[in-house]
């Protein structure tokens, strides 16, 4: 590698990972979830009152964060319904974020950051969190349950997760999905993904 020691103070891509901001959350937020809670993989995917990481949500679908154990890649989820999906795995798996059949079959990290897009199948290039929310809403309707809106319309942004959890990582070597080489506005990309547009050109 070239020896480089000049920084023009641009905020571009790559380089060492930023130091995460300390978590400004209630003391119980990063602790192990209560085993009696239903385990789900992200914000807005809780089926019951009080079943999010802070235990303070009032209604199904309004929880702030996952109760399933945080993990950062495929094959690391503990059991059924606890995998994130999106970056690895086959086309069928990638349609089932938070709804995997068995342990270790989830194909990506938990929780699911808003910027994550599927890499294969019908949802390729589209938001993983929106797919997870869609499955959740279908499940609630089938069970004749009311549910509220997610605290964030498109799921938790990566920066927010980092600030809440202390650190956040999902797998892969291709770089930060929320980034700019100096020619794009990451906010615009995030908005497009949130609107259901494909990330892929």
């Amino acid at each position: 590698m070239s020896i480089i020691n000049y920084s023009p103070k641009l905020s571009l891509c790559g380089g060492p990972a930023p130091t995460p901001t300390p978590a400004p959350v209630p003391p119980s937020a990063a602790a192990s979830p209560n085993p009696s809670l239903e385990l789900h993989v992200c914000m807005g995917l809780n089926a019951c009152k009080g079943h999010d990481r802070t235990g303070t949500n009032n209604c199904a679908g309004t929880g702030a964060c996952a109760t399933a154990e945080q993990h950062n890649c495929q094959t690391l989820n503990n059991c059924r319904g606890q995998g994130g999906c999106g970056l690895y795995g086959d086309a069928e798996q990638q349609l089932m974020p938070g709804a995997n059949e068995c342990s270790w079959q989830g194909s990506c990290a938990v929780p699911i950051q808003a910027e994550r897009f599927s890499t294969l199948g019908e949802n390729a290039g589209k938001s993983v969190w929106l797919q997870a929310r869609k499955l959740f809403e279908e499940r609630m309707k089938k069970a004749n349950r009311n549910f509220g809106p997610s605290p964030m319309k498109c799921g938790p942004p990566e920066n927010w997760l980092t600030s809440v959890l202390g650190s956040y990582d999902s797998c892969g070597n291709s770089g930060d999905k929320r980034c700019s080489f100096g020619f794009n506005d990451p906010e615009k990309h995030a908005k497009e993904l949130c609107e259901g547009k494909e990330e892929q050109d």
Partner: protein, 474 residues
């Protein structure tokens, strides 16, 4: 490497030597995997753009450009480097993934027509290596990304024979991988062969193969994602009759070389002109053949170098994002603080092949669990992690400082205990000298216990009479 002696009596494929020929095909595919992976890991896919830009600004201002002008050029050139580094990595990984698919397709072919495929211990053991049977032979090195290395990749995937006047009079086992597969195809076409439908194969529809993942994705200048493999370019296939056998071979050849008629080397040079339909490997024309993927990286290097020169910067652009790893390193040459980590890495690498071999002895959920909990986990979350960790270590060799690289050597598992037992022992030794990898302990202990295959049979002398999986029922 236990090298198989191919074609001891004849240089054509017949029903009698079909098994040897398919085994040779498997070993050709295996030989490419460590080479592509080695070069892949030499690439920093996400270099520090601020640092690159700053370096360019310094150079341009020293040459008399104003700061604002230099900054604008630096932003443009650094973005080019960011895209190139990421794209080169994505394309090489997309090819490596398909080589693994080819290994599995060839193994399915062998299982159907000639018995168990042999995979473990078949990686090249001496470097430079040579593709088994390729005429003319050419050296293949584990090297960092460079134009020379890309030229080697292009030779491996060439759809056209490599001209070597000195060797034209020699016997010709095969001149391109495609022609070699054609010999197998002719044998299958022209003979009424028995297809074994009872022995397990790696089948589609089970989640074993995914054309794309996040590592085959790259971002363009606008940070839009591009997927380098197409979903219609190929998949696992059950070899059950002549038609499916021929289909499997077509998939392998088209992914490597493109459709018949694809341009290759012209007078030893790469054609960097416009892509033609035959350069694709899928009906939708979304995925380039391996040859054309490498050609695109090679050609873009040239145009980028020219662009830097036009702006007054005469440099090897790979210096911005390629890690300085040694050519063809061996674990025995590594110092004591690196060698145990390298041993562990190679044992995990070899265990992958052991597990794939075992999948050809197991059907149903046992095969599924070995594949998903053993092979997927090992590739993505153990091997990839150790590769990243070992490259943080440096060593001196011949007066130069190098980053330690994954050597992808076959690890010689002993027969006294199971490979997994040995993996755990190796992990303990490696973690003692490099505690950074402590986090891998649980992942390794979660792997299934799979015995070694010895001369076509599985060795159970290590205390395991059957496969024991450390998986909890759901």
């Amino acid at each position: 490497m236990v090298r198989t002696n191919f074609f001891t009596k004849q240089a054509e494929v017949t029903p009698e030597n079909l098994g040897e020929a398919i085994q040779q095909a498997i070993e050709i595919e295996i030989a490419t995997i460590p080479v592509y992976l080695y070069t892949y890991y030499s690439i920093n896919r996400v270099p520090d753009q601020d640092a690159i830009s700053g370096s360019i600004v310094q150079e341009l201002t020293r040459a008399g450009r104003s700061l604002s002008e230099a900054s604008a050029i630096a932003l443009d050139l650094s973005a080019d480097i960011m895209v190139y580094a990421n794209k080169a990595g994505a394309l090489i990984m997309s090819v490596a993934i398909e080589e693994m698919l080819h290994m599995a397709l060839s193994s399915n072919l062998k299982q159907a027509l000639a018995g168990l495929p042999q995979l473990a211990g078949k990686s090249p053991s001496t470097w430079p290596a040579y593709l088994p049977g390729h005429i003319p032979p050419f050296p293949i090195n584990r090297e960092k990304l460079s134009q020379d290395q890309l030229m080697t990749f292009l030779k491996i995937e060439s759809p056209k024979p490599l001209t070597d006047p000195k060797l034209l009079a020699a016997p010709i086992p095969y001149e391109t991988i495609g022609l070699f597969y054609l010999m197998i195809k002719d044998c299958i076409k022209n003979n009424d062969l028995y297809y074994n439908l009872r022995s397990p194969q790696l089948l589609p529809g089970k989640g074993y193969y995914a054309q794309n993942n996040i590592d085959t994705v790259y971002y363009d200048r606008d940070h839009k994602a591009h997927f380098t493999n197409a979903e219609d370019s190929g998949d696992l296939l059950h070899v059950r009759d002549r038609e499916s056998a021929l289909h499997a071979i077509d998939c392998i050849v088209e992914q490597g070389e493109g459709f018949p008629g694809a341009p290759g080397f012209e007078n030893g040079k790469v054609d960097c002109s416009k892509i033609v339909p035959d350069d694709y490997d899928d009906p939708g024309e979304k995925e380039l053949s391996h040859f054309e993927k490498f050609a695109r990286i090679y050609c873009r290097h040239n145009t980028l170098t020219e662009k830097f020169k036009t702006n007054g910067i005469d440099t090897d652009i790979t210096s911005y994002f390629v890690v300085n790893v040694q050519k063809n390193p061996s674990t025995v040459d590594y110092p004591p603080n690196i060698a145990p980590v390298s041993d562990l890495l190679n044992a995990v690498y070899t265990y992958l092949f052991v597990m794939v071999e075992n999948c050809y002895m197991q059907a149903g959920s046992t095969q599924f669990e070995i594949f998903m909990f053993g092979i997927h986990k090992s590739m993505i979350f153990i091997l990839n992690s150790i590769c990243g960790d070992i490259m943080k270590l440096t060593y001196e060799y011949d007066g130069q400082t190098y980053a330690a690289a994954p050597t992808f050597e076959d690890y010689a598992f002993g027969l006294v205990s199971s490979p997994k037992t040995q993996l755990i022992e190796l992990f303990n030794i490696a973690a003692a000298v490099y505690p950074t990898i402590n986090y891998l302990g649980q992942r390794i202990s979660d792997l299934p216990d799979v015995p070694l295959q010895v001369e076509g049979k599985f060795n159970n002398s290590g205390g395991y009479t059957s496969i024991k999986l450390n998986t909890s029922p759901c």
